[in-house]
């Protein structure tokens, strides 16, 4: 029952929130999300990191005719993504204390519904169930952007929705095809992801029109849009700029991971032959994403858009690590997913915090902020160091392992990706220089810079991020050991991946 409780408790919480008096909504949301996070920490006791199996499995019949079941379980790959989602929710609630002023109740309902759908996505082991959760997550996000978003929210929302829906459609078709295939090959229909792993999917080389290649691309398209990979990334900057801060945080920190998680759960283990022959394309797009994202981030006049493009660059690293397909790349990719959740989540929160006070995100309006907001500056710098992968922060571990792994399997791509290390420092430090250093900019002259620094509440929001940045950077084994067996299993059984249920 544990995983089901974990997934659906937020829905119950949403019901509770619908009933409490208006002024109690925020405190109760905070309390409930903290409780939910603590509850999710029970995973540390229930999950056995020594085993590479699927654990805490729950199974219930849903649509027996098509072999569709309610089937959830957790392994070392989804373990940290689940905890990342539950960890961020209270921080998002606390972080939006002042910035969300209208329809407070509805806002928190959306946050909790979103939490259920993200947890469901990471834990579902039935393809249809996965698809349902994967798609459901769009709805609360649609409202987050559409109701609490910026002036061009409708445009951004449309773009976001159409892009992701278009991708998912292909995935649904592919899932249906796989279900039929299970019947052909084993006699009974099954939508279980574990059964999909056993399928022998026909593959013909040197052509696009082979079953495995088509299915591979159908899934890849859905997930590549979600990640987002170059050239499907243009919905992201618009969605981020228009989304309210909490929306951006969840979108970047959790929802993008659904894409990379999808690659790890579906694409790489299910279509080994297609992966083999097309990995060059994804490595190439990964490298292009890293460099292109960094270059375009560099010239953004809007600080939030800069962070959004930096996501494109960072997620490019994750893709690179996954398609490097060795222990370093896969471990690094998984770590980088968490890092990106922490550092980009924190960056969006920071940008939101200063926007609340200055009502501008134009880098050109700033300058000399460090003088009037020293604590904010320290926090921003620390997160920047994580983002540009300075050693002893979390970012370094992920980036180093990914580059190492890529270099092992593809020297050229690895060598090119190292350029991202330089460009990352360029766009972040240039932005830092223009916002925080130098002479007083327009904003500070107009407001005299009073009250720009962060207060106690904001400090509470940021402290957990800073602790994680250094904890993950200094003691990565505290984190990696929980995923180690699963990642090793993932890498070693390339071509005949198998995920067993825990006895």
């Amino acid at each position: 029952m544990f995983l089901s409780l974990l997934i659906f408790l937020p829905l119950v919480f949403a019901l509770v929130l619908a009933l409490v008096p208006e002024r109690w909504v925020r405190p109760s949301a905070l309390l409930l999300s903290v409780l939910h996070f603590l509850f999710s920490c029970v995973l540390f006791y229930r999950f056995d990191p020594q085993k590479a199996t699927l654990q805490l499995v729950e199974h219930a019949s849903w649509v027996p005719t098509f072999g569709i079941n309610y089937f959830v379980g957790v392994d070392g790959i989804s373990f940290w993504l689940v905890l990342l989602s539950t960890f961020l929710t209270p921080l998002v609630v606390l972080g939006s204390w002042r910035s969300i002023t209208s329809r407070v109740r509805a806002f928190h309902l959306a946050i909790f519904v979103l939490l259920t759908s993200t947890l469901g996505t990471f834990l579902a082991m039935d393809a249809i169930l996965f698809y349902v959760f994967f798609e459901t997550s769009l709805i609360p996000m649609y409202f987050l952007i559409g109701v609490w978003g910026g002036p061009r929210r409708l445009y951004a929302n449309m773009k976001f929705f159409i892009y992701t829906m278009a991708g998912s459609l292909f995935m649904l078709l592919a899932i249906i095809a796989l279900i039929f295939m299970t019947q052909e090959q084993s006699g009974t229909m099954s939508a279980s992801i574990l059964d999909f792993y056993h399928l022998q999917i026909p593959f013909v080389g040197n052509t696009f029109l082979s079953t495995q290649t088509l299915l591979f691309f159908a899934f890849s398209l859905a997930f590549a849009i979600k990640v987002p990979m170059f050239p499907f990334h243009t919905w992201l900057p618009d969605a981020h700029v228009e989304a309210p801060t909490p929306g951006s945080v969840i979108l970047a920190a959790v929802m993008l991971k659904m894409g990379t998680y999808g690659f790890m759960r579906f694409v790489l283990p299910m279509f080994p032959a297609a992966v083999e022959s097309w990995s060059w394309l994804f490595l190439l797009l990964g490298v292009v994403g890293i460099i292109y994202g960094a270059l375009v981030a560099m010239v953004q006049p809007d600080l939030k858009k800069l962070v959004a493009y930096s996501s494109v660059s960072h997620m490019g690293y994750v893709m690179l690590g996954l398609f490097a397909f060795n222990i370093y790349g896969a471990t690094g990719a998984l770590y980088q997913m968490l890092n990106h959740g922490v550092s980009t989540g924190a960056l969006f929160l920071l940008v939101g915090m200063i926007y609340e006070k200055t009502h501008t995100r134009q880098i050109g309006d700033y300058g000399g902020l460090a003088k009037v907001a020293p604590l904010f500056t320290i926090a921003f710098l620390l997160v920047t160091f994580s983002s540009i992968a300075v050693p002893l922060t979390n970012g370094f571990i992920g980036e180093f392992l990914i580059l190492l792994g890529t270099f092992q399997s593809h020297q050229v791509f690895g060598g090119l990706a190292v350029l991202g290390v330089i460009l990352g420092a360029v766009y972040m430090l240039w932005a830092v220089k223009r916002v925080f250093f130098g002479a007083e900019g327009k904003v500070i002259r107009e407001h005299h810079g009073e009250g720009f620094d962060i207060g106690a509440r904001e400090l509470c929001v940021l402290t957990p991020f800073v602790i994680l940045i250094f904890w993950m950077g200094l003691f990565p084994n505290d984190f990696l050991n929980w995923s180690k067996s699963s990642v090793e299993n993932f890498v070693q059984h390339r071509g005949h991946y198998e995920l067993n249920l825990e006895e």
Binding site: I162, V296, T331, I397, L419, L429, W430, F437, G438, E440
Partner: protein
Amino acid sequence: MNHALIILTLLIAPLLGFLFNGVRFRSHNAVVAGAVATGAAATSFICSLMLYFDLLKMPPESRVLATRFFDWITVGNLQVPFGFVVDQISVVMILIITGVGSLIHLFSVGYMSHDERPAKYFAYLNLFLFNMLVLVLGDNLLITFVGWEGVGLCSYLLIGFWFTDGQKAAAGMKAFVTNRIGDAGFLIGIFILFFTYNSVNYADLANLIPEMAEMSWSGPLTLATLFLFIGATGKSAQIPLYVWLPDAMAGPTPVSALIHAATMVTAGVYLFVRMSHVLVMAPLTMGVIAWVGALTALVAASIGITQWDIKRVLAYSTVSQLGYMFLAVGVGAFSAAQFHLMTHAFFKALMFLGSGSVIHAMHEEQDIRKMGGLRKYLPITHLTFLFGWLAIIGIPPFAGFFSKDEILWQAYSSPQGSKYLWFVGAVTAAMTAFYMTRLMALTFWGRSRFGQDVHPHESPPTMTIPLIVLGFLSVVGGWLGIPHVLAGILPGVPAGIFEHWLEPVTAKLGEGHGGAIVEMSLMGISVALAGLASGLAFICYLFSPQLPKQIAQMLGPVYQAVYNKYYVDEFYFARLISPLVEGSKALWLYIDINFIDKATYFAGDLVSGLAAFVKTVQNGKTQSYALYMALGVVVIMTVVLL
């Protein structure tokens, strides 16, 4: 005391100092902040001394104190412990870092006493010390890389310490980004070594590579060492990445002394001394290093001749001296490289602090054209600076003479050396003598050229004591490396102490060529060159001040090119940075906005167009549907029948 505990204390003390001052960064009290920070540095120095004496008690071949605190990264075959090793090489480094570091901390107490944020300054300084110690003590390449990037970060923070000045902040950023270019090379070097030899541990590599290189192709090794050298050109300001160091002078002057002269910038030299056994297996890389070092020495010295800012002259001088150290590394004279690293740390830190004392006395004036005659006002600063001057231009028995001549001799005689390398080194030595004498003459001697309202005064004891100590070291520091041909010249001081100390842990190339007579005559030539060049500078800047201007005019564009630092910054800006920014804007505009988004809209329009068509088809009229049905039947029939 347990050596692991000493190493831990050595590392933790500055980290605690950083946390103490970092938490109370708003404090204006320079004395408390300075006392804590200096105390932390001094604690580390005491620990270094203890470790040194512990090593001394051990037999020379097995002088190693190693400790591992915890496993840092453990993935696949990659095992990176947080491990540290104190041996002959690193103990010299930590003695320099913490010794000179403590003096510079002490100096800063006076120098930063009027600053608005002394606590922040000392916090950064302590953090730097911690990272630098990690860099030199790490027992593997990755821990060194941690310190390597860490010192770069502190350098960034300290160069941009007075961040309200946009140019200073920009200088900090330039330093970090230029260093990052080097670091990217460093990373690739680590990757190649790891995948070729399955380890990043120095001891493993030193044991493994000489054996394996004998029987296998040395391509990966050459490539790896070349990439590591790219890293070194960033951190140690060599061609082509030296451009950040002169700008780094934007930071407080003690920072220039500690980071940009004595310690951080020598990290690249340290790296190759540490990896000497690996490097000697890659002769091609050694050749590249030697020539890049020699050319950097020459180019930087030539720029140094033309600069007017006291700190910039010293900055170019540092680049030039680092070039000497790489020249030494490149010809396999590892102990000479580290020897010069040490003497340079003494005399250059001395001169930077001296320039700090001058700048302090002149109320932030840095232009030597507006100085002159300071000898009267700053007697201690002048006397100690004089020692630094004699040391750097290589007058015996001052420290620089021994270390520089050792390098020049090895550049000539080593199997990797050549007379051309020696020649470049000797010309550089003459230039060095010229620009340093020029600096002395314009700053301290001659008549005063500053206004009546400036009243220079000698600095307080917290600033002069470090100067005196470093002045003393600038004399005796060189006596640790008296060449064998001059053995017995100083009664009671044996020859080659330093070389002997490092012998068990550095690689040795085969026998060189040239005997004692050649060595003596080369020595004579370089001292004579230094004397001549100094004399020329005396004439130019003390007796006939019109002469330099006339020479500059005579040289015309050549002088302009040198004065403008060969337009390298301008070249980088016009050919690299500007196109990168403009190109990125074009990418954003043409690919993201005009191509991908337009294509998306097109697809969207296509879909809605299709929908509109479908809408007209479904018009709800029975007749239309009957028509479609009929058409459908026709189509199906056609298909079936054909």
